[in-house]
Amino acid sequence: MTISIGIISLAYCAGCELALISMKRFNELLARGAIDIKYSTLITDKEELEKVDVLFITGSIRTFEDVETIKKAYSKASKIIAFGTCSCYGGIPGLANLSKREDIIKSIFNDITPTISGLPELTRFVIPLQTVVKVDYSVPGCPPPEPLIEMLLDSLISGKEFTLPQKSVCEECPLNDGDKKPLKELRRRLIALNDIDVDKCFMKQGVLCMGPATLAGCRALCPSRGAPCIGCMGPLPSSRDQAADIIDALGGIFYTVEPLEKILEAIPDPVGLLSMFTLPYSTIPYHKEVGVKEVKRDGDGD
């Protein structure tokens, strides 16, 4: 049996697609003919998407062209997969939700007001695919980690349901010994580089590690290879806010911070650090000016 797949991409970096085609398993399936890539502008010559069994959508929604792409593609697949963190949660491009689209354009075009039409207009803010269309599976990760893709391929081949892990990176992390009592005060990652031991739990050393608030599935790739987790797998299934979850953990662990300003020295960019990959998916997904309507009150009324 051959499964036909298509890969379409919105605002993306191609890393997810590359992660997929760099998989040994995927190449074996290709060679065996178990998978047939029907559409991918990266590796096939097809200019139009035809009907496929499985459609991988990578990247987040940033322009109206992206919206059109989804509209065209959505009905052509029997299974839709939001592939990669951008598609699932907005990803790093989602940090653009801190600025109004007008300001983004202005900053990039050096204050030259665009006069020529044809530019695909930006959406008001970055939208993760799975918040606006129903997807069958979402496979987060920046890029999706190999074990997770492996599971996805298994499920596609066998027809069994694909389920995401339920727990956090700490569960898979070899550095987690079930103890988060800090040995050092919370410091900025850069400063901590001066004395960090990359083979010990980063949280305990006073270094922000997003592991406790980040979905497992990567086998704790970064911490197990010496780097604190930056949260690319997005929140746990029970949550939309990695930031909320990690703030809670930090407060519990580093409650002795004195003076209090030190906490902001350690985390100088709360949104950028704590919602690096998931701002558009979180409960408050944008800067107030980007997506909040303000209604003036007449006073206090019933």
Binding site: E171, N176, A213
Partner: protein, 659 residues
Amino acid sequence: MNILDSSTKTAVFICHCGTNIGGVIDISKIIENIKNIPSIAVAQDHRFLCSTDGIETMINSIKTSNADRVVVAACSFRTHEPLFQEALHRAGLNPYLLELVNIRELCSWVHENERDRATEKALKMIRAAIMKIQDNQPLKRIRLPVTPAALVIGGGIAGIRAALDIAEAGFTVYLVEKEPSIGGNMAKLDKTFPTLDCSICILGPLMNIVAHHPNIKLYTYSEVISINGRVGDFSVKILKKPRYVREDLCRGCLICIAKCPSKTVDEFNMGLSHRKAIYVPFPQAVPRIPVIDTASCLYFQKGICRACEKLCPANAIDFNQKEEVVEIKVGAIVVATGFEEYNISQVYEYSYGRYPNIVTGLQLERLASSYGPTEGRLIAPGLNREPRRIAIINCVGSRDERHLPYCCRVGCMASLKHSWYIKHLMPEAEVFIFADEVRASGKGFEEFYRRVRLIPGVYIVKSKASEVRGNPDGTLTIKAFDPAISSEIAITVDLVVLEAGIVASRGTESIKNLLKLGALNSGGFLIELHPKLNPVETAVDGVYICGAVSGPKDIPDTVAQASAAASKVISLLSRGYIETQPYSAIVDESRCSGCGVCSSVCEYSAIKIVKKKERSVAVVDEALCKGCGACVGSCPSRAIEIANLKLNQIDAMVAEILR
């Protein structure tokens, strides 16, 4: 949970509380509204729900409507929750299926002039509670056995009193004292204010009873080094330091002391005299078994002498004794580690430590004591004669933002007592007390104050001394501003007594850390559970504090607290079991990642990360859990919740208020 298709049946009772609630809130309107909620089995109001009639009505309605959970909108849970819980129990429901909404203190009383809005708010509050209670679970208190024994840490008057009280009730008591003898600070006092009892005369008998009490196991010259477990079941490790004198053989003849050739500074006499390398701290010491101080013993330092060993008639000297660790199990712990004088050499302007004729209050006690360095004759240490003019300075280090912000509570009375000592021993002497005020608020204190004030030659300067300076002839000059004459005065004296501030004893901190107790920054005193209502309990169940370890106290207060702590211990031990409060944290193992944030956050060590089927998960010891929710607030996986205050219950309330 959607109450529209709920299978639960909720009974709602709203109390008018006379006109307290009913006078502001339109209760009938609320009843009309909530009756439309499908899950409501019955919605009733009552003029006084807490009356006998109200309770009976409630029980009947619950039974007849087959309701399986109850919302009561009335007053404070603090005063009325037990009453309504009991009503549920009598109606055959688990008492934790009750939600009490306070529409009195939080609504009708604070919005008296806005009836419509108050009614709307009350309605929302009640509806939110109805939503919340849908997810309430029946809870059960757990009973756990209690080891019928207690540990008392500290052998001063507080520890002695507490140990005796508990032992008298028939329970085993382990009394641990770090010094070679029990007795503590009280043993150093000559007399006690305001009655002027001889201190050792009233303490000595108690010490002896402790030593021979069948229920008391005494560990002197010992320290507590580890404490684990929870209320009812603590395991404690005690380190026994070697005395080099066998307790089982020594008969207390003290020949060894007489023959010992080596001398060193006497700590018990506050450095005012010398003792031998083998010693008992004071004549009335309990136990009356000497200790060899290895730092000054010739054998330990130079390998020679062994005079004591040769001369001991009981062959009790054993230079090979080693440290010993004893492990005991107890159900409750009393911490009575007491106080010590503040290090007043830091109060630089009073020159303590720079001139021999400046002593602290406790040093004066030793000088005045019949078993002190001068055998009761008041000799100024630097003069070798009796002083003629003496100054006493109060509040040294106390009530001073630079040192200790609080009042030592005993200095004023001690200064009066010390004046009395001086005048009693040397009727011709002149005494100047420098005190900006004299606080005499205890029983018999004011009377004592009057008595001392009437002694000729005792002068009270109502001012804080600003400086003490030494003169070449060995005398000392005190400067102060005298408000009576609006001028600076200078008085030259032979001896200065500094009434030093009081801090928790040096050993307190390690005990605090072992037990995870709270302590104040200044003074290091341990924090009680509630300053008014739970003065001898601590935040850790089964651990009690008494005496000066929780703050400066005089002897009567200390003894009263000791008995209070003992009675708490006795009621715990004699009941034989503990009941845990049921609002403990619950771990959802399907969500828990074993990251360990909760176990690190828990101040009560109630959470441990354990391996279950190859996966690490948090496990809560319900007996230790206080239900504070710190773990809930910190869990990044939202895997730990407090029973009947789950995240979705709070969500449901939030959503209902906004509806």
